[in-house]
Amino acid sequence: MGGAWLQFVASGLTAGAIYALVALGFTIVFNASGAINFAQGEFVMVGGMSAATLVAAGVSLPLAILLALAAAIVVALVIERVAISPARHAGTVTLIIITIGVSLFLRGLAQLVWGKGVFRLPAFSGEEPIAFAGATLLPQSLWVLGGAALAVIALRFFYGRTLAGKAMLATSFNRLAALLVGINTRAVLFASFGLAAFLGAVAGVLIAPIAFTSYDAGIMLGLKGFAAAMLGGLGSFPGAVLGGLVLGLLEGLGAGFVSSAYKDAIAFVVILGVLFFLPGGFLGARSSDRV
């Protein structure tokens, strides 16, 4: 099995890049509200499904993608207004349960609108696998990896360098203080949902050629994306990407070298191990717990 490990790595990167993109979306909402948005997987699904159906209806791919992004953002903003914003003073757990309700709602809606079929988008730049040293990678995987890289750079810049980005972070750390320095905390939540949906839809569009999409695709993406975000360190954008890639690699190598039946379990065992030693994940925020 000498050269096979390279293919296991390629396999892991393909899955990992997908998880990374989803994890970035989790990070955005977490950084604004301190809550996990369990509807993030559904944002991805809405993006992928919209694009896939539009393409099937004859719309050109670039236009379909733009429309899909717009659709996901609109959906997310409406949901923020109707479901999240009215409950913004409630506790984190309540907020999380609301996002679970939202994810059920969106899944149910998607099932009505699009049915239960599985859809696929054409690959952006062909299907011909790229071979290197005996391993192969689909060109679309490079799109996904590139998308994740670009997203993390942009997000890092926005949150690390701009005052608006810092204001979004500040709101999740201390709402009262945020109000007192004049931050519109409602707008922050609103914007973060829009941003998370945008990123989610980008992810949905990028991964649909590889992973396909269906009304219930959000469940798995949500679970894996959450795990990736935790592994990398909740709140950290590079962490989200790192966590996603590591999770994917664990699965790929686990399936290759240990047991494909237990590959998910192997990944979770490793995550548990990491959390026991680094509760904040790889790149979790430096915490201050002094009294």
Binding site: M1, T136, F212, S260
Partner: protein
């Protein structure tokens, strides 16, 4: 006059939705059609259906609801083996004829008084495939399967019957229902020197397996299970699907069946009805529901009543029923009544199903 009550619990949502969804559509459509034609025994049909979402516990609750509250005359349903097995004791206890739409062998082996099933078993699928590999002189076969009930059950049956066909299983890999990349597993299979690969699975997994199969450069013949017998598979797998073989019922190739085939009228009709109404492709699973409903109604007609015991006896006495799944001949020891001839070996050619030579 009181309507005949048909009960159904199906996996309309959840991981097995592509079983339950066409099944429910089929039942609803035919109940409506038959009512429009005046019903059965001069009585209208009334359908009571619930979505068990693939959860056996829910299936049991709904089976109880059908029996206790809705007081149905017959149950057609149980998309998955787990759901079916959960409801079996209730049907047996209450004495309700129960026609399952799930595939696994244990549903009808050993035979239970009140339980019948319409689809071919997964063992038959394995046998059909291995018969084909035997004919092509391929002895080293690699197995890959999903982690769901359908997949694991078929995998286990294939392992059991392999020796009978001189098949040597050289690899045994697994993937999750929602996995997005199976190249790791396929790379291991590639290294195993398999002459053919059999994938037991349904849903989107097999499509990804098929695409990854070409990606890692595997060229050995790929067999899929009857679980992917729908046009959607070809759409998802794209050009990679070319040459894939699988055992399936006549339904999928209704248009290219020879004119003399006894199933031709039945499957053509069903297909036309379904595709006209729902504007989506038929799958064999909807056909199972069609067969289940028709068997039940046939038995009622034969019994001349909806008396449960009489209907059961009539079901067991079914002979020569021509359905979408094949020709059914039941008896006291066989509550399925199908044999290997019901399966056709299909091959994807030019993006379409065709009969394999």
């Amino acid at each position: 006059q009181e309507a005949i009550r048909i009960g159904a619990f199906l996996s309309v949502t959840g991981p097995a939705a592509f079983l339950g969804d066409p099944e429910l559509k089929t039942l609803e459509m035919y109940v409506e059609r038959i009512n429009a034609e005046g019903g059965v025994l001069g009585r209208k049909l009334q359908l009571f259906s619930y979505d068990d979402a693939g959860d056996a516990e829910k299936a049991r609750t709904f089976a109880k609801r059908l029996i206790e509250q809705d007081k149905v005359d017959v149950i057609v349903g149980g998309s998955t083996t787990g759901a079916t097995m959960a409801a079996v004791p209730l049907a047996e206890q209450s004495g309700t004829p129960f026609i399952s739409l799930a595939g696994a062998v244990p549903i009808v082996e050993p035979t239970r008084k009140w339980v019948f099933k319409t689809p071919h078993t997964d063992r038959m699928a394995c046998e059909k495939i291995f018969a084909d590999t035997q004919a092509r002189k391929l002895t080293k076969v690699a197995l890959i399967s999903g982690s769901g009930g359908f997949d694991k059950s078929m995998r286990a049956e294939c392992v059991k019957v392999a020796p009978k066909y001189g098949v040597d299983l050289v690899a045994d890999e697994t993937y999750g229902a929602t996995d997005t990349d199976m190249t790791a597993q396929l790379t291991k299979i590639k290294a195993s020197g398999a002459q053919a690969v059999l994938n037991a699975g349904f849903g989107q997994g097999p499509a990804i397996v098929t695409r990854n199969y070409r990606q890692v450069g595997l060229t050995a013949p790929l067999y899929q299970s009857h679980g992917v017998a729908s046009r959607e598979f070809i759409k998802l797998a794209g050009p990679a699907a070319e040459g894939v073989r699988l055992p399936a019922a006549a339904l999928l190739v209704s248009d290219i069946l020879p004119a003399g085939d006894p199933q031709k009228p039945v499957v053509s009709n069903y297909r036309k009805h379904y595709e006209d109404k729902f504007k989506s492709d038929v799958s064999t699973f909807g056909g199972h529901a069609y067969d289940g409903l028709m068997l039940a109604l046939g038995a009622m007609k034969a019994a001349g009543s909806t008396d449960k015991a009489k209907v059961r006896d009539a079901l067991e006495a079914t002979r020569g029923y021509v359905g979408t799944g094949g020709v059914v001949n039941m008896n006291a020891n066989d509550h399925m009544g199908l044999d290997l001839t019901a399966f056709r070996m299909l091959e994807v050619k030019d993006g379409k199903w065709s009969l394999a030579k």
